[in-house]
Symmetry: C2
Subunit: 296 residues, 2 copies
């Protein structure tokens, strides 16, 4: 039976009781609206610690004023049932008043790593993410925390924050889970129309094409980026960025290498989607047969 | 026998062992150069928890480029002996490489509360303080942390950070310890010449005079500030600020009240000193006889 708590005190008490029992704890922080991507994080968490706590919190601080905070899908009962079925031990679903007991004036600021990629179009987003994750770490003091690779810049920032603030939490990043046609699972996919769903496929298609160009010997990052951009634009996506970056400092390399990551963001209609893959290493995208010529 | 550790891992292990033994822990964060003010914090800490850990770390991040990081007094052996004699259980004296294992790019930022009072002349100071205290909290996970009231703005910021980042640490603030003539104890008093020592007395003298004016019915904060400023200037101190503030948000009230705080900073020669007292509540300054007329 999964344990549920809303209050910070109750969460800290659950944590203390686990420690007294000699159990390690893995945290899977989510905004709810759980899908197979999140549930695969629960799987990773179960392999990493004795107990797994899933947090559900649609964090207002990481949404911009014109973003989808109000419309973000919320279904905590369904989320709880899914997490329980997957073997989570506890669900921490605080209210905004629990997590922000007073006006937040002191923030964990991401610095230059937060200004790149998604940070350019989402000012304040990573400040909100890091601050709420720092709070979750301070409250739950997990031995391990598991994040999805789909939120690539986020996972880079959380690793750096954890090292730089001394949290002593092992950060685990689990691979992106994809639909059979390549689309990365995202709670925001539910916003897509049927036509939008076709266009959305072009994000993973762009990564697949760039990876193919890399495999064929292309090492100029602007050429790789152009391949990906063209693929998305042909499908009707409104490209926000496509960048080859080195995966620690998120800087643009002069020449692409195996370990470098292509990260991209695009709007499909009003829905903003992101995706990323390493250029030169095996990827689930290798298993996906591209559509017929001319299709995205 | 006091336990000493430098490494973050060793500190976290000591903490885990205390927890397993069922002991609570109080942390006294210091920059070393311990004096009776610090040692009174150890007394408070011993009353607050089963075990007391004193940290000694001259934190480079809280010094400005033209400040006294290099010349700040350091004597860890003496500090350890003093802390031990006062009943501390452990001494955590990390190196800068232990506390900053990589370039710090992610900071705990103090926001508007950090821009006031000392923040105006020490840009980045409170960012350095909050970040290192957050690290100490993350590493040592104390139940209680004890800070000196002399660093008034710091104690306000640490209370807010602790509440806003969910650390679950009880913050205790211990009264300023003073020399018989009123001078607040500070490691930086060691920089003063004999003549400077006389001038330095004017900081507490200024607070005493402002408190006397308040006791006599003066409620205009600018009049109270002028009394204090004049007193310091007559003694030859170079006043940086004198402000009456309300003690939560550090804003300037329209009219002074009992619970408001007068905070001030001044240079005596090249030495920057600070002091503060509540306006309308009992204070050790009440016990101090002012010098003869015309003296500071």
């Amino acid at each position: 039976m999964i344990v549920r708590f809303e209050r910070v005190d109750a969460a800290a008490e659950w944590r203390d009781a686990r420690r007294e029992a000699g159990d390690t704890v893995a945290l899977v922080p989510t905004m709810g609206a759980l899908h197979e991507g999140h549930l695969s994080l629960v799987d990773t968490a179960r392999l990493s610690a004795d107990r797994v706590v899933v947090s559900l919190f649609v964090n207002p601080a990481q949404f911009g004023p014109s973003e989808d905070f109000d419309s973000y899908p919320r279904d905590p009962d369904r989320d709880g049932a899914l997490a329980e079925a997957r073997g989570a031990d506890a669900l921490f679903a605080p209210t905004a008043a629990d997590m922000y007991p007073e006006e937040q004036t002191i923030w964990v600021e991401p610095g230059p790593l937060g200004d790149r990629l998604c940070g350019r179009s989402r000012p304040g987003h990573f400040r909100g993410v890091l601050t709420v994750v720092a709070k979750l770490f301070a409250i739950l003091r997990p031995e391990v925390a598991v994040f999805g690779r789909k939120d690539f810049q986020q996972s880079v920032l959380i690793r750096r924050m954890t090292a730089q603030l001394g949290f002593g939490v092992r950060i685990s990043t689990a691979p992106t889970v994809r639909e059979p046609d390549g689309l990365a699972l995202s709670s925001r996919n539910s916003y897509l129309s049927a036509g939008g769903r076709d266009t959305a496929r072009s994000l993973s298609g762009a990564l697949r094409e760039a990876r193919a160009a890399f495999a064929a010997g292309e090492r100029r990052q602007d050429a790789l980026e152009a391949v990906a951009r063209r693929h998305m634009e042909r499908a009707g996506a409104d490209v926000e960025y496509v960048e080859v970056v080195e995966p620690e400092g998120l800087t643009r390399p002069s020449r692409a290498e195996d370990r470098h990551v292509m990260a991209l963001a695009a709007r499909v209609g009003t829905t903003r989607l992101i995706d990323n893959e390493t250029l030169g290493r095996p990827s689930p995208l290798d298993e996906i047969r591209p559509g017929p010529p001319g299709s995205p």
